[in-house]
């Protein structure tokens, strides 16, 4: 089980003891204070164990206890009051003529809202995902993180490149997540400024200016769909230009430097699960630091790839938990007790990861509350149940979204609701009014939530 590395007390202690030399980072975003509402999307695969997920009146359940109770003291960690869980969310069984199955539908559609799109025979997300849509509106770059290495099937096998990410720059165009914690750390916290930093910065800017000019020259000769490709490139260059020109800021929640996993094992990000729990902890801590230090306002974190095949050896399972565990969870009540317990253990791990992340955000004071109060953390799943069942997909919303979601401690059960309402809800909570999302342009927000 993950240990919590952040606590409010520890952060306050850290803030009080900060020496003159702070760990510095460069802000990735252009926004100035006050801090914008933050969005954090956390995606898991393979469904939950229905009977052990949905809570009682006190929001207690074998899986959710790992979200709401401190792992050591078993006391309420304070997240319950800031959490809303939406019941009866479903993803339509619609492959839209692609080769996609229910894993693909949930994974690629959840945050794009669009129908699957066939490109090169593979089923891709059909549009821009909500995180990238907001990043575009805010003229900022999101931080996309993932841990996907799988012993049972190295991530993801050829022909399944579409399963690598749930976040999309545009139709059939993935935003690739960073998979190396050390590289992500160095991206967020570049090495200290060199003596010739100003000169280096000026030269880099002149290089990127020339590149931008050259790019525009090619772009002008292309038709609309090809030009879109270079537009992504141009946007990316502008993100980098903003980043290298940004001022360094102090980041008291900067985590320790993660290990160099690739030096330990060149396949660490491909097929080795020995490092997975530690890598996930690193990524969770980096996500929390990026948001609490305002290095970006949008973070996505992906635990496993679409239809992922983790072995969960760290939870005492160590078997192909996709084919040989999740697929065998064939009813809401569970299948045989041993298998049901394995599905519970898998999902308790995810819940603990979410808890680590949410408590880290809740430990940092901001205004009258905490960073979590200015955040919307969405914990979603590609399936409802592991046997490809698309009903009752668990959707957990944590944080007050800057006051837009003041109530918590609730399970929202307002009847069957289409998944598109999740994207619509996110947009509206993030101050980007929308009537619908993706292929349901008038779906509205989750009923009973606001």
């Amino acid at each position: 089980m993950s240990r919590l590395s952040f606590s409010r007390r520890r952060v306050l202690q850290t803030l009080a003891l900060i020496p003159a030399t702070l760990p510095f980072a460069r802000v990735l975003q252009a926004e100035a204070a006050p801090p914008p509402k933050r969005l954090l999307l956390l995606m898991q695969n393979n469904g939950t164990q229905q009977a052990n997920f949905w809570p009682d009146a006190n929001l207690g359940s074998p899986i959710l206890d790992c979200l709401f109770l401190d792992p050591t003291t078993k006391q309420d960690n304070g997240l319950k009051a800031k959490t809303n869980i939406v019941k009866q969310v479903y993803v339509p069984n619609d492959a839209n003529g692609t080769s996609g199955n229910q894993h693909d539908m949930g994974f690629a559609r959840m945050f794009t809202g669009e129908k699957l799109l066939s490109r090169g025979g593979q089923p891709w997300g059909g549009g821009i995902s909500v995180d990238q849509r907001l990043a575009k509106q805010r003229v900022t770059d999101s931080l996309a993180l993932a841990v996907v290495a799988s012993h049972y099937e190295p991530s993801p096998k050829p022909g399944f490149a579409h399963r690598e990410s749930f976040t999309y720059l545009g139709p059939a165009t993935l935003k690739h997540p960073r998979k190396d914690p050390l590289e992500a750390f160095r991206y967020l916290f570049p090495a200290g400024d060199q003596p010739d930093a100003a000169r280096r910065l000026e030269l880099r800017k002149s290089v990127l200016d020339a590149v931008t000019g050259n790019l525009a020259e090619v772009s002008a000769r292309l038709g609309p769909s090809e030009r879109t490709k270079l537009d992504y490139h141009l946007t990316a260059i502008r993100d980098v230009e903003r980043r290298i020109g940004a001022a360094a800021v102090a980041c008291p929640t900067r985590p320790a430097v993660p290990p160099d996993y690739l030096a330990l094992d060149p396949n660490a990000e491909l097929n080795q699960e020995a490092y997975t729990p530690q890598m996930v902890d690193n990524m969770v801590d980096l996500a929390a630091a990026a948001l609490t230090c305002n290095l970006t306002s949008i973070v996505t974190l992906q635990l496993g790839y679409c239809g992922g095949k983790w072995g969960f050896g760290w939870q005492g399972i160590d078997m192909n938990c996709h084919d040989d565990v999740a697929h065998r969870d064939t009813s809401d009540a569970g299948s045989d007790p041993t298998n049901t317990q394995r599905v519970v253990l898998m999902n308790q791990y995810y819940a603990a990861c979410v808890a680590r992340l949410a408590t880290a955000l809740d430990a940092v004071p901001e205004g009258d509350g905490t960073v979590l109060d200015n955040t919307l953390l969405v914990w979603a799943n590609e399936l409802g149940r592991g046997d490809h069942n698309q009903e009752n997909v668990p959707i957990v919303l944590i944080g007050k979204a800057g006051g837009a979601l003041p109530l918590g401690g609730r399970v929202i059960d307002a009847g069957r609701q289409v998944f598109n309402r999740l994207g619509c809800t996110i947009l509206n909570l993030m101050d980007s009014p929308a009537a619908g999302f993706g292929d349901v342009p008038d779906c509205g927000v989750f009923e009973g939530l606001l």
């Binding site: 050829p158 490149a161 000026e202 290089v207 020339a210 020259e217 090619v218 000769r221 697929h327 046997d387």
Partner: protein, 523 residues
């Protein structure tokens, strides 16, 4: 070789981003740098089934930063170690800085852009040089200009645009420039930019006709780069490029190790080379040859003694080990982590060798009993999966899939031959169902290889795979006629490279259409 409608299988004017493999090859050839910086880039998307698919290769900020990091390191190394070469032999001490900067922009830049730079591109890059030289001196100026060149789209993308003055009426065909065709040819056959001889041919006007393309293609096919590239294509087609990251359950297969996987990969490298360049070079040989290569570890797996260290030619038992489908590398990739994989093997044959993918599995597929399950203790792999064909719900597709896959049962999950499983004799009888002309029973993979070698469907599928690889895209749905005409003379006994030679001489290789303006809103 006239095509029914060349444009049906052609493409619009486009740019194709260098794949990681191509990027590393290009900087090796351009700068003499073998550090392979692209191995840390975002992985290629394989949207055409191959690493060079242009469609999904969008660039995001992480990639821009990777390009920046790589360009800065490459430029620093090149200026330190290869300055004379960058300057086209110009000596700063005698000719002066300005003359040598001119030499850099007139000799190096066109090779990096794979065409002469436009005046505006040149002016921009000269500005970068001048600004940097003012701060850092001449070498710093060249280094910074080189950084800009290596991050420019003209370097990172292969252009397929046609001449600047081409008619831009939507739908109109545009003929690519000679520089663009030279790049296309060179990347197709050698995975890198045009070499000196091809470049000189273009500059001298000796690269304009189909005969010129054929001549240059034949010359390039004799190079080491062509061996590397054809090998990469065959590995990607057969999915054996997965061998380096392959894992197995060591309880089921204690002899498996990354070193054994590396040996399997190397065996295929040598087998592909021998078939392509030393043997008849045909599909028949690829699917029926029992000649191969092994080191002692692989020899033990094959039951063939190999005395010395290193790889040696070996003759495998032709009744068991005919063709690439019987090689340990192929069989290991197409199996489960702890058992053989009749479903994976069957799907692969249908999808990638016959280009007839079975439909996606429906929801709520009844799971097969896992190999580690106590209930599977006495079941063979075939018995575990038999529910597929005995359940009417599954039978329609699985008769087709398992019918092929069960024929591989004589080989376990790492490609070792076996006669029993769980104490029961192996049944390696298979059946082909729903193919164009090779339907019927077969016994064992060697016989399957022979059947495939006689199959027009395999030949057509191979042509399609070459098209996907060469054109960087999956064939459009209305391109059947054009593809049928492409390589219409290709047979199972013809050299594999025949298809490449036909492709480079076909109109679709040199023609692009002007993309229509977008109607309606952004999707």
């Amino acid at each position: 070789m006239p095509l029914a409608d060349p444009l049906s299988a052609s493409n619009t004017r486009r740019v194709r981003r260098l794949s990681a493999r191509e990027y590393d090859n290009v900087v090796r050839d351009l700068l003499g740098d073998s550090s392979r910086p692209a191995q840390r880039f975002i992985p290629d998307a394989f949207q055409n089934g191959y690493d060079n698919g242009s469609v999904g290769l969008a660039i995001q900020s992480d990639q821009v930063m990777s390009y920046q990091t790589a360009a800065e390191a490459l430029a620093a190394n090149a200026v330190q170690g290869q300055l004379g070469q960058l300057l086209g032999g110009c000596d700063v001490a005698t000719a002066g800085e300005e003359a040598c900067a001119d030499a850099f922009f007139s000799t190096f830049l066109p090779r990096a852009f794979r065409r002469p730079a436009t005046p505006t591109e040149l002016a921009r890059l000269r500005d970068v040089y001048r600004n940097a030289a003012r701060l850092l001196g001449f070498n710093g100026g060249i280094q910074t200009a080189l950084e800009a060149i290596l991050q420019s789209p003209q370097f990172l993308y292969r252009e397929e645009l046609g001449p600047l003055e081409a008619d831009s009426t939507p739908g109109n065909p545009v003929r690519l420039t000679n520089y663009e065709v030279a790049s296309e040819l060179s990347f197709l056959l050698t995975g890198t930019s045009p070499d000196d001889e091809l470049w000189r041919a273009v500059e001298a006007g000796n690269f304009q006709s189909r005969e010129d393309y054929r001549r240059e293609a034949q010359r390039l096919l004799a190079s080491a780069g062509a061996r590397d590239t054809l090998r990469a294509f065959l590995h990607q087609w057969l999915a054996t490029d997965r061998l380096p990251g392959l894992t197995k359950d060591l309880t089921a297969y204690p002899s498996f190790s990354p070193a054994l996987a590396a040996s399997m990969s190397r065996e295929l490298d040598q087998f592909f080379d021998a078939v392509s360049w030393e043997g008849r070079g045909s599909l028949r040989e690829l699917f029926t040859s029992s000649q191969s290569f092994a080191d002692p570890a692989l020899g033990a797996l094959y039951g063939v003694p190999v005395a010395a260290d290193g790889f040696q030619p070996v003759a495998l038992d032709p009744t068991l080990r005919q063709g690439v489908l019987t090689r340990a590398g192929f069989l290991s990739v197409h199996s489960a982590i702890d058992s053989s994989g009749p479903i994976a093997r069957g799907v692969f044959v249908l999808q990638s060798l016959l280009c007839a993918p079975p439909p996606a599995p429906p929801a709520n597929v009844p799971p097969a009993v896992p190999s580690g399950d106590p209930r599977a203790q006495d079941l063979t792999t075939r018995e575990r999966f038999e529910a597929h064909v005995s359940t009417p719900f599954c039978a329609a597709c699985h008769q087709m899939i398992d019918g092929v896959g069960f024929g591989f049962e004589q080989f376990d999950g790492i490609g070792a031959y076996r006669t029993t499983e769980k104490g029961k004799p192996i049944d390696s009888s298979g059946t082909l169902v729903g193919t164009a002309e090779i339907d019927g029973p077969y016994a064992g993979v060697s016989e399957l290889g022979t059947k495939l070698a006689n199959s027009q469907q395999l030949r057509d599928c191979f042509v399609k795979q070459v098209y996907r690889y060469g054109m960087g895209q999956v064939e459009p749905s209305d391109s059947a006629g054009a593809l049928a005409e492409l390589a219409s003379d290709f047979t199972s006994d013809a050299k594999l490279t025949t298809v490449l030679l036909d492709l480079v001489q076909s109109p679709l290789f040199v023609t692009r259409s002007v993309e229509p303006a977008r109607t309606g809103s952004e999707p």
